[in-house]
């Protein structure tokens, strides 16, 4: 059964097309991942699917209900862990959880049990009766996650659920998300910047860039689709563009230049690499750095979006988010 179905889903903000004719479907109890650089349209897609935004064009169904015309029905079956932290600073962790339970009509007794379970899972049991104001950024994010897990929805949307969490917590969360899926048949739609997360968790992944889905498949197939290995190479002389020189070599299938680095697609990298180096040396091109990369999801991502993940996720956004958190603390 198709739990999520999007057909040419589109959202415009004025001139900007944030989500551009996106179509996909998610099966029951599948974990479906949306991967993409900042501003790709992941959150906007989630907002349309959870009835926070109306699509400009196209349509979508969640749990069999139209997100625009039957939005009330859709809200009965979805849960959302938003990207931004929305827990109430003035309440305690426990109070936040119980409020969430009320909003989703979870009976108080059940809510208490699940709250204890969820809070211990995210290691907040001891802090449960403290005001959220006194929490660290990571603790708030964990509380936000715990809130999303209280009502066992049919479809759970997780917008960068483990952003800013430490490695141990992230792994615990992955296990729990899988457990929820297995035991409660919850369908999950998640966005993430962490390749490993997508690889470990997702049954299928869509890579989205500038509002469009540029690839959609299982992690395995995506990696295979790269059609071989990748050699990353930098020349000492960074001024001259050597793309055409590289392309003229017989072992080379394709070349992409990202910054000063050439990404050369080859099959059987172990054999191709020495040949390529030999050829380049003959042409008197001095190599500064070289590495052979076996396909990972990271590579797939780079291939389809032309951007390195670390690049997109690093600086600006992370800094901006931190500022936002700081601002919240001050206010």
């Amino acid at each position: 059964m198709r739990v999520i179905e999007a057909n040419d889903l589109t959202k415009r903000f004025g001139q900007l097309v944030a989500v551009d004719h996106v179509s996909f479907s998610v099966e029951e109890s599948e974990i479906f991942g949306f991967l993409g650089p900042n501003g790709a349209g992941k959150t906007t897609t989630i907002n349309m699917l959870t009835t926070l935004l109306n699509p400009t064009e196209g349509s979508a169904k969640v749990g069999g209900f139209d997100v625009e015309k039957q939005d009330g029905k859709v809200r009965e079956v979805v849960g959302l862990v938003p990207q931004d932290i929305t827990v109430d600073d003035d309440l305690t962790g426990m109070e936040n959880m119980m409020l969430q339970a009320k909003l989703y009509h979870v009976p108080t007794k059940v809510a208490r049990e699940r709250t204890m379970e969820a809070l211990s899972l995210v290691a907040l049991t001891d802090a449960a009766n403290r005001r959220v104001e006194t929490y660290s950024g990571g603790m708030r994010k964990r509380l936000e996650l715990a809130e999303g897990l209280i009502h066992y929805p049919k479809v759970l949307f997780l917008d960068e659920p483990t952003l800013g969490l430490d490695v141990q917590t992230r792994v615990v969360m992955w296990d729990y998300i899988k457990k929820l899926r297995d035991e409660h048949k919850i369908t999950m739609f998640l966005t993430t910047h962490y390749m490993e997360e997508a690889d470990v968790l997702c049954d299928r992944i869509a890579i989205i860039d500038q509002g469009k889905i540029v690839a959609l498949d299982t992690p395995e197939n995506l990696k295979d689709s790269l059609g071989g290995d990748i050699i990353e190479l930098e020349f000492n002389n960074k001024k001259d563009d050597q793309t055409d020189t590289l392309k003229s070599l017989s072992q080379v299938k394709d070349v992409k230049k990202i910054g000063d680095t050439y990404r050369i697609k080859v099959s059987r990298g172990e054999k191709a690499l020495p040949d390529i180096i030999e050829n380049l040396l003959k042409m008197d091109l001095r190599i500064g750095r070289v590495s052979l990369i076996k396909p990972t999801l990271d590579q797939v991502y780079l291939e389809y979006t032309g951007r390195s993940l670390r690049e997109t996720q690093g600086e600006t956004m992370e800094v901006w988010r931190r500022m936002r958190t700081l601002r919240r603390v001050r206010e």
């Binding site: 959870t50 009835t51 926070l52 935004l53 109306n54 009330g72 809200r75 009965e76 979805v78 849960g79 959302l80 938003p82 931004d84 932290i85 929305t86 109430d88 003035d90 309440l91 109070e95 409020l99 969430q100 009320k102 909003l103 989703y104 009509h105 005001r131 919240r328």
Partner: protein
């Protein structure tokens, strides 16, 4: 719907009850108002005549002048010669106004911090979101009213000699109606606003005229004609008038007809503004 409204109202109430600083400010503000304006700015004192001057006059004339002056002051200030009492009654309405404004503003923060989105994806009726805001604003307003009334009492508020429990309840009912109408009105406006800078500007724009173009602080009779016209449509004037009548209820008389008229105005105001306000406020929850 009821369960969610209660849960959300509880959240709002918890937010300020558990905030000692806010509670302290809530106490401080009326004390400053009552002390500064009510005591220092003794308007009725300005008009009174110095005792030495009166003492030089023959006794019969003294009595007559005294009676005349007091009657004049008392008429201007709605039946009291004590500006503090006049002012305290007005402050009760102003408090309701300020509380309604602050509560309305909180929705802008909820929107900004994404809390509103959390409510919007939940399977709850949009009405409950609005009702909880109005409800908690009224609860807070009433709490402040009781607080300020007690403080004013401690500071020397002079109630009329026939003031009783019914007058007290009448006063609370009047302020409740005012609070309901004003809270809905502010929420209808703040629900449409996305930034907190704008909301503060808008609130000030509305607040000052509502406060000063009313009988809360100064008698309407002393105002220029155009201001009187505005003040005569201002619900705060009606509430101020009725509250004063209840507080000053004395054996000498109680203008029941006037208070009934005040009530009628306030009931219509509260009904229309809460119904229309809540409907308008809901449109602010429409998605983009």
């Amino acid at each position: 719907m009821i369960e969610e409204t209660i849960a959300l109202t509880k959240r709002e109430v918890k937010k300020w009850v558990k905030n000692p600083f806010l509670l302290f400010m809530m106490l401080l503000q009326p004390i400053i108002w009552l002390g500064l304006f009510g005591k220092a700015l003794n308007l009725t004192g300005l008009i009174s005549v110095s005792p030495e001057l009166i003492n030089q006059l023959p006794p019969e004339v003294q009595d007559q002048i005294g009676m005349f002056l007091n009657q004049m002051i008392s008429e201007t200030f709605g039946g009291t010669t004590d500006y503090f009492t006049y002012m305290a009654a007005g402050i009760l309405s102003i408090t309701v106004l300020f509380t309604a404004m602050f509560s309305g503003m909180s929705v802008v923060w909820d929107r900004r911090f994404g809390f509103l989105n959390k409510l919007l994806v939940a399977p709850i009726s949009r009405g409950s979101i609005v009702l909880a805001k109005v409800g908690s604003s009224v609860i807070r307003g009433m709490f402040q009213v009781l607080l300020i009334f007690s403080i004013a009492f401690a500071f020397g508020l002079k109630v009329g000699n026939a003031f009783g429990i019914l007058d007290f309840l009448g006063m609370v009912t009047v302020l409740f109606l005012l609070s309901l109408g004003l809270s809905s009105m502010f929420l209808a406006i703040t629900m449409q606003i996305k930034s907190h800078e704008t909301v503060i500007a808008v609130a000030n724009l509305l607040n000052l005229p509502l406060m000063f173009a009313s009988n809360a602080l100064f008698p309407i009779k002393q105002m220029p004609q155009w201001l009187q016209t505005i003040a005569n449509f201002n619900p705060i004037s009606y509430a101020g008038d009725a509250v004063r009548a209840f507080i000053l209820h004395s054996n000498a008389g109680f203008d029941a007809a006037k208070v009934t008229a005040d009530f009628q105005f306030l009931i219509v105001f509260a009904l229309i503004f809460s119904l229309v306000g809540i409907l308008i406020a809901r449109t602010g929850l429409r998605k983009g």
